[in-house]
């Protein structure tokens, strides 16, 4: 071996599946030369539940609660993607009011997902304080979810064709209040982390991933945008009325862990911008499209992808004309982003592997499905 760091024997070390910083049940086999990582190998499947297979034995409406359990941090986004895919099969569209409420809840969920990521990522690296602050704000978002649909985490907020629940009285006020207070809290996190010398030393230059490598591996979401590619499906192929809202797609050019952190921080601010615009003008009207009592799409197939907090989340559904989907295939962002771990971790130190796993923001429920 030419690139050995010390003249030591190669050491194979298991990281996980119970390691606290693998964010679930991910097992990484590390090949080490001293502290230096020569290679990594991910072993996934510990949380496999066969969600795609379950779909074949459920009706379209019955499968909707299961998609919440894939990426349970951003259950609302998962539900939106699935509902849009079935609506495309049915050639239907949710009414404008439903679309606006969907945007508000999905963007709130994006903030909640990024907050959980920020708290745990900082915790992995050694900054304990931000966790308490991010969870404080996340709690406000979860309270909105609970008031709206009755559940905090696995929300099942949307139905195919629109919404089941009308907004509760005080919904707009609660969302506006959150939008007013939240940007100041983002500044708080930035005060704690952005300029912090330890934080910068641990993140800058760690886990480099160039735009070319991102494209090769199919990496999407904030990881891709931190490498300098302004690819956001909300802009590139707007769905659910995103074309009505003004927002920017934050990008950075470095492609390291610090840039990914800054991209996500900026995304939270942009999400607040979208929510503000959406909540100002929620149209009146129906919340459910007509003819959604029995969901029986014609023979055909549909692929719909949305910008979930972690990247491109796609649903490919094949219909054979019955009330059950013939096949549901999910393109999960976490699964594809995780594949880039090998290139990112190669040549780094063991302590940086923790930072790199944190920065791709994986949820194992989605990786394994």
């Amino acid at each position: 071996m030419a690139d050995t760091f010390l003249d030591a024997q190669e050491l194979v070390l298991n990281m996980g599946p119970q390691h606290p910083s693998t964010h679930g049940v991910l097992r990484v086999i590390l090949k080490l030369d001293g502290e230096k990582v020569l290679g990594t190998e991910c072993v996934i499947g510990y949380l496999h539940r066969g969600v795609e297979k379950i779909a074949e034995h459920r009706t379209y409406a019955q499968f909707a609660p299961y998609v919440d359990r894939m990426d349970y941090i951003s259950a609302v986004s998962n539900g939106l993607g699935y509902c849009l895919a079935v609506e495309k099969l049915l050639n239907a569209e949710a009414p404008p009011r439903a679309r606006a409420v969907r945007v508000i809840l999905t963007e709130l969920n994006r903030i909640a997902s990024h907050l959980l990521w920020l708290g745990t990522h900082a915790l992995d690296i050694g900054a304990i304080t931000p966790l308490f602050y991010t969870f404080r704000e996340r709690e406000e978002i979860l309270a909105i979810f609970e008031n709206y649909c009755g559940a905090r985490l696995t929300t099942h907020a949307f139905r195919i064709g629109g919404l089941q629940y009308e907004t509760y009285s005080g919904f707009e006020e609660q969302v506006k209040r959150f939008c007013d207070t939240f940007p100041a809290h983002v500044d708080e996190y930035e005060t704690l982390l952005t300029g912090n010398p330890i934080w910068r030393d641990r993140l800058i230059g760690v886990g480099l991933l160039t735009a070319e490598q991102c494209k090769d591996y199919g990496v999407t979401g904030p990881v891709l945008r931190a490498a300098g590619v302004a690819w956001d499906l909300r802009k590139a192929q707007p769905y659910s009325g995103y074309e009505q809202y003004e927002f920017e797609v934050p990008t950075r050019s470095g492609g390291d862990t610090y840039d990914r952190y800054l991209v996500r921080i900026e995304e939270m601010r942009q999400s607040v911008r979208i929510i503000r615009q959406a909540v100002e003008r929620i149209p009146e009207g129906a919340i459910m499209a007509k003819g959604m009592k029995v969901i029986k799409p014609p023979v055909g197939e549909a692929y719909v992808s949305i910008e979930a907090p972690k990247g491109e989340l796609g649903y490919f559904i094949v219909s054979d004309g019955s009330i059950h989907p013939y096949r549901v295939r999910v393109r999960p962002p976490s699964f594809l982003n995780l594949q880039a771990l090998e290139v990112m971790a190669k040549g780094s130190l063991v302590a940086d592997v923790v930072a790199i796993i944190g920065t791709i923001d994986i949820v194992l429920g989605e990786v394994d499905r």
Binding site: A61, Y133, G150, A151, P197
Partner: protein, 150 residues
């Protein structure tokens, strides 16, 4: 301010400490004292199921239409009924709800045409046995029975 001076004067550290210090006031305490203080869950909270009865005569509202059992993704509701030969209507006899498999998606209460089945705000669903999670009609109407520890 130049970078070296910021570092020398520990500006970042002081700013971070200020953030921490500002939230020290007791009014910012967010911890819930759960068993002592009951949390107030939302009005639409999806918790323990309940089979509503007519408060005037104590008869069940359920018309045994079986729609909840069809809507349930986990097939955990079993509705038993007999047809009354005089009125030619279905009458509810048994109603079994397996909470151990329930994921509280709310599809059953959406499906109910007479608002008989409802997911309530009760969230304390622990029991000592698996059998204790299978709720029969009486438990669904009157609330959970405490199960003894074996």
């Amino acid at each position: 301010m130049p970078e070296w001076l910021r570092r020398f004067l520990l500006i970042d550290l002081i700013q971070g400490m200020l953030v921490t210090f500002r939230t020290q006031h007791p009014k910012y305490i967010n911890t819930e004292q759960y068993p002592e203080e009951r949390p107030r869950v939302a009005e639409r909270y999806r918790g323990a199921p309940r089979l509503n009865i007519n408060p005037e005569n104590g008869e069940t509202l359920c018309i045994a239409c079986d729609l909840c059992a069809i809507a349930c993704p986990e097939n955990l509701i079993v509705v038993g009924s007999v047809r009354n030969p005089e009125t030619r209507r279905k009458e509810l006899t048994t109603f079994t709800y397996d909470l151990s498999r329930c994921m509280f998606c709310g599809l059953c209460e959406d499906a109910c045409p007479v608002d008989a089945l409802e997911l309530t705000q009760d969230f304390e669903l622990a029991s000592f046995t698996r059998e204790g999670q299978i709720w029969d009609r009486q438990m669904l109407e009157e609330g959970p029975r405490p199960s003894p520890y074996r």
